[in-house]
Amino acid sequence: MSHIDTSSSTDEFEDARVSEENPTDGPQSPDDPSTVGDPGERVGLVRTTEATPKQSLLAGASMGRGGDIGFMSASIVSSTVIVLVVVFVGIFLLALAVPSLRANNSSFLFSNDWNMAAEGFGFGILGLLWTTVITSIIAMVIAVPVAIGIALLISQYVQPRIGKTIGFVVDLLAAVPSVIFGLWGITTFAPALRPISEFLQTYLGWIPLFSPNLPVPDGSAFTAGVVLAMMILPIVTSISRDVFAQTPRDEVEAALALGATKWETIRLAVLPYGRSGVIAAAMLGLGRALGETIAVMIILSKPPTAPMTMDSLSVFAGGETFASTIAANAGEFDSALKTGAFIAAGLVLFIVTFVVNAAARIIAERGKAKA
């Protein structure tokens, strides 16, 4: 994926950034500001982040040409469509889930039963919630630092050409379908991960979180979490890389002028500037990890009593996540109550993902305001 490229406008704004396409070419045209190197020339073009240009923009709209009205209506219509879709999906989910929730004899949020028969109908999502959360946390704990590391490597520590190759390889991974991750994960990767799992179980097994559970740890939440980390890595890396490369030169120069080392420069200029972007990237990755269906379905071993047992809070136990249980059972929705139970689980996933996304936006916005 190419950099967020803002230099594609008019010549005036062309900058001397070593571009992806021509890594060894210097400034392209005589008007290129980098050869002039006079910061004063750019002052007038700097946009304030807090601009509220509403008045000036709306002034243009009041010219009232037909094209304006048409265009504005088109964009309003599409926004309306988006809102309507969301509303209808919400109605759909609630309409299916509410009857089952009303008929539920067990605690929905705090129990782990799953009895789909008409008498004694009761379901609780505690186990599903646990497995979903633990696999996503493992994925994030592994993927986010590593992604930041790779992004820093690509943008700061290696030659642009090598960086571009690494970036290309990472982007290619985003195109690998999730079924393949599941298949490769369970047949090739899980056996390779066994020594690490066994090591952790031996030395950290006294902590309940790492206690041994399955006879062979191939189908554990740990394996699923590691494979999920690999799946979300490209997204987080790609966006972080773009964000780091966009750090304004002024900030970097300021740090260096203070005599900072490379790492200190990164710590003082690059990372704070990129903070909200990296958080947004991490949230996109988390969204994917929470909703991942097929790969998790193939890797995770389901415990014998549906959907999972909570006698062991270990990452080396199996389980089912919201998405994987809905996908595995979608073909067997033969009664309205049963369908509603699974849809209610889907609703919880929906809400969890939304809350996380909204939180990320708020953090990102606050970060931007600070900058």
């Binding site: 219509v77 991974l173 790492w263």
Partner: protein
């Protein structure tokens, strides 16, 4: 962030490093450099591993096809494979203690390994146009004959044992479904982003729509599929179709494209817009000819990201369009094949049979298509930039 300030890369920082500090700070600097390298290397190992697996297992099938049967010699005493020469004449009767077997597909194990006769034939395979090759290597090998059947033939009625049949119906289906999805999602997303940035920035209405987009981002693919199934099939009484799938996938693609377009549009400086208005250009024309082209390459990136995600989705396809092995051309009615469902359908084949290899071939094809789209998009972006110069 100003478009005019340069962005930083390694060479910039290195050029501007003034003095080399000593002691603790230098230690920390080198430590972090080492950590970053180690983290990246560790992470890249499994990533490159899976990519290489897909390429090595999948690429050969896109340019070659295994023979229908591989003739191998088996020692009957302990049921292990013997060298081909031990059985004598290829079309003759083998000596005592040896037997010919014809294994479907092109894979065979090394001499000395136990032989599993499941699926194999004990007489010369009959049928017109049957291709038989005798194993010429004593080690484990995969016999391949050059062919483009992967791209030119649908899978048809081929069975998992048989290497005949290509992926045309899957490639066609994936392309058609993704195209339909893009045609539906991209205009909606771009108009929505334009609304959020150009018309409703900072307003309550804009925040409400943004809120809805956040909710849309959170819909898992399986839920979107069930919703569209309920809408199209249960309520409207239609049949499964590629079009229904495209709508469900558009629901998944829209947030990605919308958010990235929105970010790109926000990065376009207002001074550009103001300059355009000052020249008397109406609002809509400003958006179309000044703002959008400025953000073009970033928008294309967002679209490609969305397409890559949507092309690999399996669950909505299974629910809404099923899987087919023959060619079906109507996107508004009936099943269609597609690459992810092809992978899903054949992943349960045992690893020694041709069906299993198709899984990797399909995965490789997916990566190839996305990579080509990516290069194409970058090429368009670069051409656009050159044109402006």
């Amino acid at each position: 962030m100003s478009a005019a300030t340069a962005t930083t890369t390694k060479t910039d920082i290195d050029d501007l490093l003034l003095a080399k500090p000593k002691g603790r700070r230098a230690f920390v600097d080198n430590l972090m450099r080492g950590l970053v390298w180690v983290a990246a290397a560790l992470a890249l190992i499994p990533l490159v591993w899976i990519l290489l697996t897909v390429i090595i297992k999948g690429a050969p099938l896109t340019v070659a096809v295994p023979p229908d049967y591989t003739q191998i010699c088996v020692a009957t005493a302990d049921s292990t494979r013997a060298p081909t020469s031990a059985c004598g004449e290829l079309t003759g009767t083998p000596p005592d203690g040896y037997k010919w077997y014809w294994v479907p597909g092109g894979r065979h194990d090394a001499v000395g390994t136990t032989f599993n006769p499941y699926g194999s034939q004990t007489t010369f395979p009959t049928g017109e146009d049957v291709r038989v090759r005798a194993a010429s290597s004593d080690g484990k090998a995969w016999i391949l004959l050059p062919s483009l059947q992967w791209w030119t033939e649908p899978l048809g009625s081929s069975v998992d044992f048989s290497p005949r049949g290509g992926a045309l119906q899957a490639i066609y289906g994936s392309v058609v479904i993704t195209l339909l999805c893009t045609v539906v999602a991209v205009p909606l997303a771009m108009l929505g982003a334009i609304f959020l940035v150009e018309y409703a920035r900072g307003t309550r209405l804009g925040r409400a729509v943004s809120f809805c987009v956040d909710i849309l981002t959170g819909i898992p693919s399986i839920v979107a599929a069930l919703f569209i199934y309920a809408l199209f099939v249960t309520i409207l009484g239609g049949q499964r179709s590629a079009f229904a799938t495209a709508i469900a996938l558009a629901m998944l693609m829209l947030p990605t494209v919308l958010r990235s377009t929105e970010e790109m549009l926000k990065l376009v400086p207002d001074s550009l817009r103001e300059a355009s208005y000052a020249l008397g250009v109406p609002r809509w024309k400003t958006i179309l000819s000044v703002v959008l082209p400025t953000a073009r390459s970033g928008i294309i990136t967002g679209v490609i990201l969305g397409i890559a995600r949507v092309m690999g989705e399996t669950a909505p396809l299974l629910i809404l369009v099923g899987y087919a092995t023959n060619m079906y051309f109507d996107p508004f009615n009936g099943s269609m094949g597609s690459l992810p469902t092809m992978i899903n359908a054949h992943r349960t084949t045992a690893t020694q049979f041709a069906g299993y290899d198709r899984v990797w071939g399909a995965a490789f094809t997916l990566i190839l298509i996305v990579m080509l789209l990516n290069l194409l998009a970058r090429g368009i972006a670069r051409a656009g930039r050159l044109k402006e110069k």
